[in-house]
Symmetry: D3
Subunit: 171 residues, 6 copies
C-alpha cells in the first residue's frame, strides 16, 4: 500500500501540510526587539524631479505627503497582506533621497516592534505606499514614472538572525 507517510510540509510556511493557507502560529516564538529596513526607488523625467525638489523647499511638499502615507501604510500591512499578523509597531520612519544622477527618488523605510514576528512586510509596505503616493502626486506631469528596486535591506531580531542584503551594482 502506498502513502503510509504524512505529506511533506511545504517550505513556504504560510501553507500547512495539505497546502492550505493559514496565518502561522507564532505563540511559541520569542518576543524580541525586531527591526526591518526596506528600500525602493521611483524613476522619472528630470523635470518631474526638479518639481519635487523645489516643492520640498517651497510649496507643494510631495515628499512630506508621501512620508505620511508610508507611515500610515505600515500600520495597514496586516489589512493588506492576507497572512500577516497584526503587529504593535513601536517605530516607523520613512526617508527620501532625491538623486539627480539617476533621475529618481530613493525611499528607505524602517519598521520596529517588540514581538513574536518580523516586521519586514511593514517596512516593504511603507516603502511601496510612499512610492505610489509620489506617483499619484506627480502623475499629472509624468505618466511614465517607474517604481523599482523594492527590497528588504536589513532585518534583525528574529531567530533567523541578522540579514543584510548585498549591495546593488545597478538598480
Amino acid at each position: 500500500m502506498t502513502h503510509p507517510t504524512t505529506p511533506k510540509p511545504s517550505p513556504l510556511t504560510h501553507f500547512d501540510a495539505e497546502g492550505q493557507a493559514h496565518m502561522v502560529d507564532v505563540a511559541a516564538k520569542a518576543s524580541t526587539h525586531r527591526v526591518a529596513v526596506a528600500e525602493g526607488r521611483i524613476t522619472m523625467e528630470p523635470a518631474t524631479l526638479a518639481l519635487i525638489q523645489s516643492g520640498s523647499a517651497k510649496k507643494g511638499d510631495v515628499l512630506g505627503i508621501a512620508r505620511i502615507a508610508g507611515i500610515q501604510g505600515a500600520k495597514k500591512t496586516s489589512d493588506l497582506i492576507p497572512l500577516c499578523h497584526p503587529i504593535a509597531l513601536t517605530r516607523v520612519a520613512v526617508e527620501f533621497d532625491v538623486e539627480a544622477a539617476t533621475n529618481s527618488v530613493l525611499c528607505r523605510t524602517t519598521a520596529e516592534c517588540t514581538g513574536q514576528t518580523g516586521v519586514e512586510m511593514e517596512a516593504l509596505t511603507a516603502c511601496s505606499v510612499a512610492l505610489l503616493t509620489i506617483y499619484d502626486m506627480c502623475k499629472a506631469v509624468d505618466r511614465g514614472m517607474t517604481m523599482g528596486g523594492v527590497r528588504l535591506v536589513e532585518k534583525r531580531g528574529g531567530k533567523s538572525g541578522h540579514f543584510v542584503a548585498p549591495a546593488l551594482t545597478t538598480l
Copy 2:
C-alpha cells in the same frame, strides 16, 4: 502697490496656488468609462520560482492568494493614497506570468470605472499589493526577492487621451 499677480499654479494638480495639498475638484469632469492597466515584476531565486509554479498546480497556491490581495488592494486605494478620490470600481483583474527565463513573476492588473477620475492608482496599487503578497508568502525561503518595473502600461477614457507606455527593452 502690493500683489498685482496671483501665484502661478503648480503643474502638480494636487496642490493649490499656495502649494497646499487638496483633493482636486472633479465635479466638472465628464463621467466616462475609464480603464487603466499596470504591471510590475518580482524577481527571485530559481528554486523559489519553482515552488510557486508547483504550488499553483498542486498545493500552496501563492498566486491565487496574491490575486485576491491585489483585487482587495485596488478597493483600498483611496484609503492608502492620501489625495485619491473614492471610486466605484466596476472591474478589477490581476494576472500573473511565471517567467522562467527571468526568474520572475510578472503581474499585470486592470482597473475600470465609469466616473470622473482615472483609475491608474487603483491598477498600480493592486499590482504593488499583489507583489508584496508574493514576497510575504515566499520570504521564508528567499529574503532577497526584488520588486520592480512597477508602472502604468495603458490608460484610456479621460480627457488626457489614450496613453500607452513604450515597450521595455530590459526591466
Copy 3:
C-alpha cells in the same frame, strides 16, 4: 491538433475562462434601483432571551447595539468579501423579532442602492454582523448560542428578475 476550442466559461461568474478569480465587469449593466432582504436567527437559552427583552425596554440595549453594528457591517461588505464591488448604498435597515416560542431572535435586514450590481451581499453581511454582535453581548451568560437560517429572502431590481425565497417550514 489539440485544443481548437476556448475553455468553457465557469458558471460561477467570479472566475474567468481560465478559472482565475476577478471582480466581474459590471460597467455594461443597467443602473437600476436594487433591493435585497436577508434574514437569520440566533437561538439561545430562555434566560438569555429574557435578558435581551428586559434590556431593550430598560437598560443594556443589546438589540440597539446589534442594529448599529449591522448597519455599519453593510458598509464594510466590499472590504470583507473579496470580489464584491464597492457600492453606494442608499438605504440599510435592520429589524429584530424576539421570538419566545423558539428561544431566538430573528434578524431581518434590507439593503438598497441605485447601481449596476445587486446588494444581496450587503443585506447578508449586515445580518451576520448583527447576529455576531448579539452573540458577543450575551456570551458572558450563554456560550452555546447558535446562529442559523442566514439566507436571502428577496431580491429585486437586477436583470435576473424578482427572487423570493420559499417559506421555511422549520429553521
Copy 4:
C-alpha cells in the same frame, strides 16, 4: 426613602451598572494563551456543491478564496463588533469539509492569541465571513443557499475554563 442601594450589575458584562455599553476593562485579567474553535455550515443545491468540488481541484477555487477571506475577517473582528477589544492574534486557521451527504460545506475556524481576552468572536467572525464568501462566489447559480449552525465549538485559556460544545444531533 427608596433606592439606598446601587443598581444591580447586569449579568451581561458589556453593560455597566447603569445599563450603558462599554468596552470592558481587561487590564487585570491574566495574559494567557487562548484558543477558540468555531464552526458553521452552508447548505446548497447538489449541483452547486459539485461546482465547488471540481473547482478546488481544477479551476475556480471557491474554498481557497473563502479561506483567505475568513482569515482576513478574523483580523477585522474588533472593527466589526462594537465592544470587542483589538487583539494581537497569533494564529488563524480556516478549514472546510465538503459533505455530499448533507449538500453542504462545513467550515471550522481556529483563532489563538496570548492575551487578556478570549478569541471566540475572532473564530466566529472568521467562520461567518468565510461562509458569506462562499455564498458570494456561488450566488450566480444558487440564490437559495443557507448558512447555519454557526457556533462556538471549543474555548480554552481563560478564567472561565475549558468549554466544549455538546455534539450536534442535527444541524
Copy 5:
C-alpha cells in the same frame, strides 16, 4: 378600538416610526452638486503656536500633516459615523489660519459631491480629525490645548436650501 393611529414619526430622520435607527433612504432624492463648509479651532499656549508657525516655514510641518489627516478623515466619515451614507466625494480642502491674537489655529474645511445626500458630516469630520492631529503633534509640549467652535458654516445644494451660519461674536 385602540390604536387607530400610526406612531408619529420622529423629527430625527435617522429613526423610523418605532424609534429604531436606520440609514435613511435617499434613493428618491435628487442627485445635485452639494457643498459643505465647516470650521473649528484649537487654542494653545503662545509658545506652542510659535512652534507651529516656525515649523510650517522651516521644518516640522504640523499643519501640512494635519491637512492630509483631515482630507483622509473626510473619506472615512461613513466608517466613523454609524448612519452616514458612503459618498463619492468630488473635492476636499482643508485650510488653516494661525491667529496670534487668539493663540489658536482656525481650521476651515470644504467637502463636495454630486449625489443624493449632503456632505456636512464629511466637512465636520475632516475638521475634527485635522484638529486632533494638531493636538497629537504638539501634545509633547502642551497638554492643555482645547478644540472648540466646531460647526457647520455653510451648506448648499440640497432640498433644504442654502444654509449660512450666523457670524460668531466670540468663540
Copy 6:
C-alpha cells in the same frame, strides 16, 4: 570645518532632528497601565436637547448610538491620526450628561491600556466621534449645533506623571 553641531531636536517629538515626521520609537519606554480622560460638549437649541432627552428614555436613542460610535472611534485612532501608534486598548468608556442649564450634552471618555505609549489621543478621538455622531443624528432639526471644549481632562501612567486639567470657569 563646517557643521560641528548636530541640529537641535524639535521639542515636537513627532519630528526628527531634520524636521521630518516619524512615528516615535517607544520600544524603550516602560510598559505601564495608562489612563486618559477627555471631555467635550455639543451645544444646541433647547428643543433639540429635549428630543435627545425624550429619545433616551423612549425611542430614538441618540446617545446610545453616539456611545457606540465613540467606542469604535477610539479603536480607529491610529488609523485616523497619522503618527499614532497602534494600541491594544484594555478599556473604553463614553458617558454623557444632558445639561439643560447650558443647552448642551457633555461627553466624557476614558481610554486605558497597558503599554508603552499614552492613550490621550484615543480618549480625545472617542469624544470627537461621539459628538460628531450626535450632530449627525440631530442635524435634520438643528444645523447650528456647535462642538467645543474638547480637551484632555486627566492622564496618568506615563513617565510625564499625573496630569489633571484645571477646572473650567466657562466653556
